[in-house]
């Protein structure tokens, strides 16, 4: 099936893109297009105007700067996968990048586009939440910073304004004793997550958990944090028992729906297991000995 006809605009600068977004009626932003193109073709999306940002070269970056890992709007999933920056230091990023869709999709799809799409089954939202990430948006009134916590509203709905363009998502560079991980359950390569959990732990000098974050995928109406579980972890020393308790709390906080992949109870159990595994890997990467509780 073909898309409905649309006007195709190809700005080459952010300023040009922002003024187009302001002046045009009901524009849709096209970046990687790996979700939007099928939506256009099935006429789930019927914009009159498409603003294609692929020509804005200044948005094609992935680097550390001023205490942040900054991911520009045109950085593809494959760029994260291939980046020399992304190793155990950014454990959750290293885990998630090869798990997004398939190689061809990762060559086109962008991290920022995935965040902007705000599919609760998208992986990157959970990573941003676990890393206290931020979304940088440019609109007619200039730039604003939206904490990841305040970004996701509903499936495919965010606090971004219609005339705003996300130029970047960023996360603080990791603390010296920080570790993170992402575990995802899916039926086969290329599938969206049935459930996924991103975990991040920061330890103090006495091996006590200073900061704990858990971001969950596909088990609520948006990517969501497990704040009770986080609070239970903070101030404690990592242990299998602690992670089991944290897994149970995360499962309680999740709100999965039954579907063809499994019933809600099963998915809650999976949140429990995935949270324990992600916490185990995060603790290990934060410098503790291997404490993975289950495999």
């Amino acid at each position: 099936m073909k898309s409905a006809p649309f006007e195709h605009h190809e700005p080459t600068t952010v300023d040009e893109a922002v003024s187009l977004l302001e002046s045009l009626d009901g524009p849709t932003i096209l970046s990687g297009g790996q979700s939007l193109v099928p939506m256009l073709r099935f006429r789930l999306a019927n914009p009159d105007v498409v603003v294609d940002i692929n020509g804005i070269d200044s948005l094609d970056y992935l680097h550390e700067e001023d205490g942040y890992l900054r991911i520009g709007a045109l950085a593809r999933h494959a760029d994260v996968e291939d980046s020399s920056l992304i190793d155990e230091t950014y454990g959750s990023f290293a885990d998630v990048a090869p798990l997004v869709a398939d190689p061809q999709v990762r060559n086109r799809g962008t991290v920022v586009g995935s965040v902007a799409q705000a599919d609760p089954k998208g992986d990157w939202g959970s990573i941003l939440l676990a890393h206290d990430g931020e979304v940088i948006a440019r609109g007619p009134d200039g730039e604003r910073t939206i904490p990841a916590d305040e970004f996701f509203l509903l499936p495919y709905d965010t606090t971004l304004d219609d005339n705003e363009l996300i130029t970047e998502v960023r996360v603080p560079t990791p603390a010296p004793r920080e570790g993170s991980a992402y575990h995802k359950l899916k039926r086969k390569t290329g599938d969206y997550a049935m459930a996924g959990v991103a975990a991040r732990l920061v330890l103090d000098d006495d091996d006590v958990i200073e900061t704990a974050r858990l971001g969950m995928t596909a088990v609520d109406i948006t990517n969501a944090r497990a704040t009770d579980s986080e609070a239970h972890l903070e101030g404690e020393r990592p242990s299998s028992e602690l992670f089991e308790e944290a897994g149970e709390l995360a499962a309680e906080e999740s709100n999965p729906e039954s579907d063809e992949h499994g019933d809600a109870g099963y998915k809650e159990r999976m949140v429990d297991v995935l949270a324990q595994r992600a916490l185990g890997d995060a603790a290990e990467r934060a410098g503790l000995v291997k404490r993975r509780v289950s495999q």
Partner: protein, 214 residues
């Protein structure tokens, strides 16, 4: 700007200039405007990978991109494989799919060849897991994948053998032992215990003609 615009695509080394609507998908431009139907459309949803092509060397799904977005790009499709420097009569990957029976219905094959080509360009000596990962965006409903993996391994070995014997120079002589060529008997599939099919007598066989229903 819903009007057609002129774009240039360099496909398999040949420059094509065509007029496309913004909504024209790259795969439709290739298949319908340029009549290169080797690139297939399987699922039409971006899942199956049958429409995989190489755009500026990277494998992408041509049903998930508008043609206008590929303006100025260098594209490789299955039609161009036999003209690549590493090809003799066929490309080593195509030889591999023939020798190892890497296809049954053949629908996924063009996409598999492209995914395999992208992999071997980046990693000439992939292990099985790497091969399986590289073709994870391509669905095959016939083979169970094992023979596709073997086909790509065959091509990797073939390319490595050539590098070892000629120091990397590309040979283009048919019948030089680099693989079956048009001059070889149709039964030569590269395997000593060849089963004789499916290509053994495909073209010599006496097919039933109209009126013979036995």
């Amino acid at each position: 700007m819903t009007d057609e615009r002129e774009i240039t695509l360099t496909i398999n080394g040949t420059e094509h200039t065509l007029e496309v609507e913004p909504r024209r998908l790259l795969v439709h431009a290739i298949r319908e405007d340029l009549d290169m139907t080797g690139t297939h459309i399987g699922c039409d949803t971006g899942n199956c990978g049958a429409c995989t092509i190489l755009k500026d060397g990277e494998p992408i799904k041509s049903c998930l991109m508008f043609a206008a977005q590929a303006d100025g790009a260098e594209i490789l499709t299955v039609e161009g494989m036999e003209d690549l420097p590493e090809a003799t009569d066929l490309h080593p990957l195509q030889e591999g799919f023939k020798a190892e029976h890497g296809l049954q219905c053949g629908y996924c094959t063009p996409g598999m060849l492209m995914a395999g080509k992208a992999l071997l360009d980046e990693n000439p000596d992939p292990d099985e897991e790497t091969i399986r990962d590289a073709i994870s965006g391509n669905l095959c409903r016939c083979t169970g994948y094992q023979n596709i993996v073997s086909s790509i391994e065959y091509a990797a070995d073939e390319l490595a053998d050539r590098t070892a014997t000629d120091g990397g120079a590309v040979t283009a002589e048919p019948g030089d032992g680099a693989g079956p060529s048009a001059d070889d008997a149709a039964t030569v599939c590269g395997q000593s215990d060849c089963c004789g099919g499916p290509d053994a007598d495909l073209f010599e066989r006496d097919y039933p003609t109209e009126g013979t229903d036995t």
